[in-house]
């Protein structure tokens, strides 16, 4: 693998709203082309970290470099999937229109010559295998289908960095592993750097290179081997967590069900 400058570098970074500090003294570096899971208890500031990287929230202290520059709102090199439950079932807009807004929704006026936009949206929809339902109202699609279209929207314009805030939380186990596999495939094909907030780490374990954990006012980085242990997860979440290995060597995290079942508590 050729040496590339890191995608994200934080030096003594702090984030907060007004006088309130969510976390501080964050030092980490995320390698280009890596897959990172962001873990941590609710209210720890995981979404705040994503918002800071997106440039939606200025750093309260320290330095942050994203793809070699300061965080900047509307950076076309970043694809983003915000935290959401699902689209309103009454939302009467086609998946294709939603993805097209990802292409040129930030531009003023109406779309006069839509061919280029339609083509870009189409390429993105194909890359996530969503052609068969892209023309149906997005609110009426299943959680897995909606997540694929959100991914298609995030991928328009060939971003270098993909940020996802709990893309798996509304999916069943089968769709979770399908979406994670799709993200992994896209990451390899496009040499993307992926950061993903998750509550349930199990579907991610085979794929992630780093874990960034956000807890008790701190942000720290480690390898899955270091973090995914009973001792460190119990410390991070301040609740008894056990990491088990099955007969085939697969790792399972047990004890975060409470967190998973109350994701917004």
């Amino acid at each position: 693998m050729k040496m590339q400058p890191p995608a994200i570098v934080a030096r003594d970074l702090a984030a907060g709203y007004g006088a309130h500090r969510v976390w501080a003294h964050a030092d980490f570096s995320i390698a280009a082309g890596s897959f990172t899971a962001i873990l941590g208890p609710n209210g720890g500031g995981k979404s705040t970290l994503i918002r800071t990287i997106l440039g939606l929230l200025p750093p309260a202290d320290g330095q942050l470099q994203v793809l070699g520059e300061k965080p900047r709102r509307g950076n076309r090199l970043i694809g983003y999937i915000p935290q959401r439950s699902t689209f309103d079932p009454e939302l009467s807009i086609r998946g294709r229109d939603f993805v097209s807004l990802g292409v040129d929704g930030h531009r003023w006026g109406m779309r006069l010559l839509g061919a280029a936009t339609a083509a870009a949206a189409d390429v993105s929809i194909r890359s996530v295998d969503a052609e068969s339902y892209a023309d149906r109202p997005i609110g009426q699609l299943s959680g897995g289908e909606q997540q694929r279209l959100l991914l298609a929207q995030a991928l328009v314009g060939n971003p270098r960095l993909l940020l996802m805030d709990e893309p798996l939380s509304q999916l069943d186990v089968r769709n979770q592993s399908l979406i994670v596999q799709l993200i992994e495939d896209l990451k390899r094909a496009r040499e993307l750097t992926v950061l993903l907030i998750a509550h349930d780490v199990n579907p991610l374990l085979p794929h992630i290179d780093h874990v960034l954990y956000v807890a008790q006012g701190n942000v720290a980085m480690g390898t899955p081997q270091e973090i995914i242990t009973s001792e460190s997860l119990t410390r991070i979440y301040s609740t008894p967590v056990e990491v088990l290995k099955d007969s085939r060597g697969r790792v399972f995290v047990v004890g975060l069900e409470e967190e998973v079942s109350h994701p917004h508590g």
Binding site: R84, S92, E145
Partner: protein
Amino acid sequence: MVEQSIFTTITNTSPQVSWNLFDDIAALFHYDFMVHAFEAGTIVAIVAGAIGYFVVLRSSAFAAHALSHIGFAGATGAVVLAVNPIFGLLVFTVGSGIAIGALGNRLRGRDVTIGIVLAWTLGLGVLFISLYSGYANEAYAILFGLILGISANDVIFTLVAGIVTIAALIAIYRPLLFASVDEELAGAKGVPVTALSIGFMAILAVAVTEAVQVVGVLLIFALIVTPAAIAVRFTSRPFVAIATGVVLALAFTWAGLTIAYYSPHPVSFFITSIAFATYVVVRLAEPIGRRLRRKSATAASIQDQQGHTSDA
């Protein structure tokens, strides 16, 4: 006052529907007040039908309704000060529109805040009516519309305001659509969501002010919300939905005006009733249409199944 006299004019001359369609249409446009009513009604229907799409998409129906009610205080206040009620209406709706827009779409309890302000301004309106006692017709016109009393100047005002609202809507069309579908995402992509929210409510305020002339503050829903609410049930393509909303709003207005011309009852009654009846028919017909569509979709998906594994 004006409305009363027009009704007596109509009943005195008592137009009758004949079997000759050309005679009927000629009769419809025989009087200036009917020509003005059709002109203003057409402009208002186009504006209301178009902006209504965004009202429905942003779930801002209550905000639209509230704008018109808050405008009532402005209109009655203007009457007390012997100013054109339209200007009072415009000042109050645009002012409150900007305030509501600044509250933001996501804020929980926004509707409660709007409702509290709304109740107070309606109270103010009642005070202004009592200060201007003896002219309940003015209040009646503001509440229920006075399209048959529209002057040539009013038509010009409506046309100018209509052009401004449509132009503004075209200018912010794409980012507004983006922010209406997913505000968080649009914000991250660099769309100024708060400024758009304020801008949209200001445009809506001007549209509401125009529409009040036709259906009055109490019946604004029929022209701004109903056509768009029906349109989004037919199509999930934004531009087609807007066009459908405009066509429906035009149909309701023209049909209402035509029927009212041959009847002693108020125009707003017919416009709102036709809008309501259309909505009811569409909602009742929907389950049938869905069943038919599912049947054809199943047939299509059976052909499609080779080579495709569908997700979920």
